[in-house]
């Protein structure tokens, strides 16, 4: 036995050190936090997650905090490789998890968020792809393919169609919304071409036979000058799989990139000449212009603005430093609802760092101006989008120190907000 002393010693040494390290030494002992209710209904915070970094001690570690606790996440190559759940866990949309679980065979390999439609009868996935011909300047083809699952019988059908497009040296197409209207399925497709106005095509198929019925290029206007282009922003239903009989477009006429007289880098944003809002009804094929809904209080500079379509309501959220305004427009009645304003003076002395609208609620993240200096915790607010009533107010709080010294416990910077739709 003595002869093998070196080998034995090495084996024991390896076993002891690696076991001890991974059992006791490798844990970073990050403190645990939880989003705790200050006032209101904690259920309102279920869709809310705050993210940021823990910077106590040496290094910086990404963490997420929600009402159920905190967890470390690392957007590293390792996690991309090893722990990525792919489309199975969507941080944005709750209904996809159930679809992948329930219809795993049909959903296999289908990941484009805005390409799905589901109702009680069917689940539809549509795809659009632009392919160049041999002479890319002469011809190009857009190909649509659809997979449809009958939820009652489990029968899957596949259908497709192709269409020649105007020549373009560099173009690509993708689906922006899928909806069903009666026996028709509409595949709304955005075709982008470099240095040209993007084009919106509604490709319509028969849901029973799978035959292509028609293809409509939506008339959303033309640039008024040769050096201008239209930027078309699609406002489809907020929840991508949900049904909605209409889709909206915010069309902005602006100077073409590279054609301005920008003197500095800050001047490079193209000049905007006009903004129009259009509504397209899938069933009737009607396109009509809508009034632009949002208006802010005087002397308040808007730091960000969001438009959102939830069912029959268009919501415009505008964020200023110390207030947000919510304008709601009932599309079926054609009526603008009274503007709702939420001010920080109602809530705390902090400024609004982020605002989102989803699920009929307004989500706000409030920070103290010097929060990086003082490590102060943000405040999360959930308000009713219809009347601005505060439904929930909460803040991240320490739950467990995990052995960290006291002076490191507030070294957490939570500056982002994620809302599950």
């Amino acid at each position: 036995m003595k002869r093998y002393a070196i080998t034995l010693a090495l084996v024991v040494f390896i076993a002891a050190s690696l076991t001890t390290f991974y059992a006791y030494g490798a844990d970073l002992h990050l403190p645990e936090y939880r989003l705790q209710t200050i006032e209101g209904d904690p259920v309102e915070a279920a869709a809310l997650t705050l993210s940021g970094s823990y910077v106590g001690g040496k290094g910086s570690y990404s963490i997420k905090v929600s009402a159920s606790g905190s967890e470390r996440y690392e957007p590293s190559a390792w996690n991309q490789w090893m722990q990525n759940e792919g489309p199975l866990t969507s941080p944005m949309y709750s209904d996809f998890n159930a679809l992948y679980e329930k219809h795993s065979g049909f959903m296999r390999g289908k990941v484009d968020t805005y390409s799905f439609y589901t109702d009680e009868d069917s689940l539809i996935f549509a795809k659009a792809a632009y392919t160049k011909g041999r002479d890319s300047l002469q011809d190009g083809t857009i190909r649509w393919s659809l997979d449809s699952l009958d939820l009652a019988s489990g029968k899957q059908t596949h259908y497709w169609d192709e269409q020649q497009l105007e020549p373009a040296s560099n173009a690509y197409a993708y689906v922006v919304d899928v909806q069903k209207a009666g026996a028709e399925v509409h595949v709304l497709t955005n075709v982008n071409r470099v240095n040209q106005t993007n084009e919106i095509i509604d490709k319509v198929f028969d849901t029973i036979t799978g035959d292509p019925i028609r293809s409509i290029r939506l008339p959303l206007g033309e640039p008024s000058e040769p050096d201008r282009e239209l930027q078309i922003m699609v406002l489809a239903e907020e929840k991508p799989t949900a049904a909605n009989s209409r889709v909206l477009f915010l069309v902005r006429e602006q100077r073409k990139n590279g054609m301005g007289t920008a003197a500095t880098a800050s001047d490079t944003a193209p000049a905007v000449f006009s903004e129009k809002l259009y509504e397209y009804q899938y069933a009737s094929g009607e396109v009509k212009e809508l009034p632009l809904v949002a208006g802010t209080e005087e002397n308040n500079q808007v730091t960000s603005a969001v438009l959102s379509l939830e069912g029959e309501t268009l919501i415009a959220l505008q964020k200023m430093e110390e207030s947000v305004t919510i304008d709601r427009f009932d599309l079926s009645a054609g009526l603008a609802q009274p503007q709702v304003t939420i001010k920080t003076s109602q809530l705390s002395e902090k400024t609004i760092s982020q605002a989102q609208v989803a699920n009929g609620r307004v989500y706000l993240l409030l920070q103290a101006d010097d929060y990086f200096k003082n490590h102060s915790m943000p405040i999360a607010i959930v308000a009713d989008a219809t009347d601005g009533r505060i439904l929930y107010k909460g803040t991240p709080a320490l739950v467990k120190a995990n052995g960290r010294p006291d002076d490191q416990l507030d070294d957490v910077w939570l500056s982002n907000m994620l809302v599950l739709r």
């Binding site: 040494f13 030494g25 040496k58 990525n84 390999g109």
Partner: protein, 270 residues
């Protein structure tokens, strides 16, 4: 089993001075790094205190490890290079030299697969010995740090923070997640076996064997590369990807061992 253990010990015994030499080099080099950077930090602290402009933040052992990236990385890279070369030398040294040791080794009354496994085990023992030694050394270096840096300048840090502070530790050598350790070193173990089999292909078929060996390594690399690059947003679900990766790993390992055993048992010539 007894023969296998004896063969492992023989290989360890043959390499012991190089192994201890690498440990000594690592200890000396890293200790100099810790002392040097602790002194730099202390001088900075004293200078700031003398000028009285601001109160400097105390520093931790993890800060020093973070400062001395190069001093920690260099002996580790030297050790990796030496061990990498020894994967080849552990076989070729038996053929090269005044008396071919391979004659005696292959004449031993034991299954020749034991020779293959013993050499591989020895390489793995050397690798894990160096990793374990690094862990022990970090503990000793922390004691040294506590000894030379006055408590006024010092703040505490976790052992894991010290490990995470150095890129060489955190990325390939001592990942903090146990799963990552298993994947990294599992791939490394497979690489050792693949190289062993490639060496045996060369030893069995000589010049033609070099071509076989290159093709074999390329085939194994392609299989593992394919497994590593499976996209969770593609056709397969994440659980299926994990199963495919594990399956490909086991198949490559199985084929490599089977081929290696066959070559060392039936084809090898001295």
């Amino acid at each position: 089993m007894n023969r296998y253990v004896k063969l492992v010990h023989m290989e360890v015994h043959r390499f012991r001075y190089v192994l201890f030499g690498m440990m000594l080099l690592t200890a000396i080099w890293q200790t100099i790094g810790v002392i040097y950077y602790a002194k730099v930090r202390m001088d900075g602290w004293r200078e700031a205190a003398r000028l009285g402009n601001y109160a400097p933040r105390p520093f931790s052992f993890a800060d020093i490890i973070g400062d001395s990236q190069f001093w920690f990385a260099l002996p580790i890279l030297i050790s990796i290079t030496v061990l990498g070369l020894y994967i080849f030398l552990i076989w070729y040294r038996d053929w090269i030299g005044r008396d071919k040791f391979a004659y005696r080794m292959f004449a031993l009354p034991t299954a020749r697969s034991n020779i293959y496994l013993a050499k591989a085990t020895a390489i793995l023992l050397f690798v894990f010995s160096m990793v374990s030694f690094q862990l022990l050394l970090l503990l000793l270096e922390r004691q040294l740090f506590n000894g030379i840096v006055p408590s006024d300048y010092r703040m505490s840090s976790l052992f894991s923070e010290a490990v995470a502070a150095n890129r060489v530790f955190e990325l390939p050598l001592l990942p903090l997640e146990g799963v990552r350790f298993v994947v990294y070193y599992g791939t490394g173990i497979l690489a050792v076996f693949v190289l062993f089999t490639a060496i045996l292909l060369e030893r069995c078929y000589r010049w033609l064997g070099i071509v076989y060996a290159i093709l074999y390594v390329a085939a194994c690399g392609t299989a593992i590369g394919f497994a590593a690059n499976l996209n969770p947003y593609g056709y397969f679900y994440p659980s299926e990807i994990t199963a495919i990766r594990l399956g490909i790993y086991l198949v490559v390992m199985g084929v490599t061992l089977a081929l290696g055993f066959r070559l060392v048992s039936k084809k090898i010539t001295v």
